[in-house]
Symmetry: C2
Subunit: 343 residues, 2 copies
Amino acid sequence: MATKRIVPEVLKGEAVFPPPLWMMRQAGRYLPEYRETRKRAGSFLDLCYNPDLAVEVTLQPIERFGFDAAILFSDILVVPHALGRDLRFEEGRGPLMEPISAAGIAALETETFHVNLEPVYETVRRLRRRLPEETALLGFCGAPWTVATYMITGHGTPDQAPARLFAYREGQAFRALLDLLADQSAAYLMRQIEAGADAVQIFDSWSGVLDEACFEAFCIAPVARIVRQVRAKHPGVPIIGFPKGAGALYGSYRQKTGVDALGLDWTVPMAAARDLQRTGAVQGNLDPLRLVAGGSALAEGVDAVLKGLGGGPLVFNLGHGILPETPVAHVEDMVRKVREARR
Amino acid sequence: MATKRIVPEVLKGEAVFPPPLWMMRQAGRYLPEYRETRKRAGSFLDLCYNPDLAVEVTLQPIERFGFDAAILFSDILVVPHALGRDLRFEEGRGPLMEPISAAGIAALETETFHVNLEPVYETVRRLRRRLPEETALLGFCGAPWTVATYMITGHGTPDQAPARLFAYREGQAFRALLDLLADQSAAYLMRQIEAGADAVQIFDSWSGVLDEACFEAFCIAPVARIVRQVRAKHPGVPIIGFPKGAGALYGSYRQKTGVDALGLDWTVPMAAARDLQRTGAVQGNLDPLRLVAGGSALAEGVDAVLKGLGGGPLVFNLGHGILPETPVAHVEDMVRKVREARR
């Protein structure tokens, strides 16, 4: 490779300053060009499964801001969808699924999984050809726990109580679901890597609602299973784990899953983040609302991340996805601040 | 005092096994006798301000389960209500308030605060007379950050984004609101203590959505201010701080607020909880959904708390309020398990 891609190197532990940056949900509704493309797609799922349009929206933030990484435009719920579960997205309500039962878990069908996901793999192949040589391409999947919460409840909830209760009451069926999701997600990530992804991220958006025993069984164990499988086949490709809201459990997650890099949400304090950074790269963790607010709230937030974590391997990012109401000018301001940072 | 109240002693650092226990929201909808009393009150606020009925519901779980502590039946939002803000509760929607502006903050009226809250103080006085001598009576208030989120947004949200954005944009007005709420809450807690409360708890239900700088300014600083004022006048009365969801920030909260005891939510892992317990009592932290589920989920959860924290000063409790759908038989089972625990 003629030009070096920085993001995978940092994810593997190299410290670079100023740090490379990208933003979770960087291809999204805060961008006018995304909203234009979105109108041309039918449903949100149509957009995910249309390589022409998915490539287009993935490239938009790269063209506009020159981020160091592009992330495949897709959704974590294409995995259960590819397993035959019903899925639709309603404006303002988020994803809606038919809640799964223990019997439904036993009946999940894996045979056409990769055929169903072929448009995603095609998107990855085209992206790697279209992206600038120095821009890393990230693949991703949802972590089994987070994906399972939507499959069980059928929609988002503030605390995932229905899925947690299902797990307490139907332990065997629930563990079978997590195992199946782990194996399919590992296979999904490997196909993305084979199609051209330079690194992959595992999103566990609902890690923060579990007690320690459940966190070990539902978050750590399935992600460790994914990491083992992916690493066996693609040992050089960095894996980012993002157990959002894991709080005091971040350390045990890093140690036991074996991920190369940790995505940090914005609530992780700097002393804890630096401790985590001693054993590998971290990614994050600006409060997305500081980017909405702009001004001194943004400047202070960027400074805190750079000062707190800039001395070690860091991929600058938000602590969660960018919000639709974020002004584009604030993103420009953030990118400038990070790029012009000097120690 | 002839009979010793165990809970305040444990909160001040004494280790007792089996630990004393009570449950957050123990006077509540899971109890048939509560639902009967509730029918006789008009609105939920009427119930809070009616000493006859508030005493009745506060005593119900003590009579049924013999908990070691009773907690005043009230709501954290009586404080802004007593400051003249509109407040109502709608079934299934929770509290609703008129969102406050910067001008509204400047216009808050403290003159009739204690007059408005006199029914609460009367409830406390009657409770201390009616409770068994050995049962501790706990007073409480909401922490300024959590109360402010409802005042600013007017209703609950999943992540308190409107209040956080208000704080970023209108920093001066927001800090003035927190200071005023801290001073009024301190005065409110002192009146509860003077009316007979043996200890007080400060509920910060929305601690878990802030980055480190905001946590320091919005959660720690106002609670430290309350603790200073209450302790200056009532140095012997233990104060419990409950920064729900504080995650890796629990340690700094304990150190900087000066609270005697820490309420732990169910996501705090045992190693972190034991670290926190080295410098003072802890209270918690069974996942309330384990109590809903019952059976082995409950047994394993109770064992984990007793084994993890039973060696130091512990008040056994849930990691958040008991849920309305909890079977009474599961509560009986939990009480038996804790009371019969042997090392």
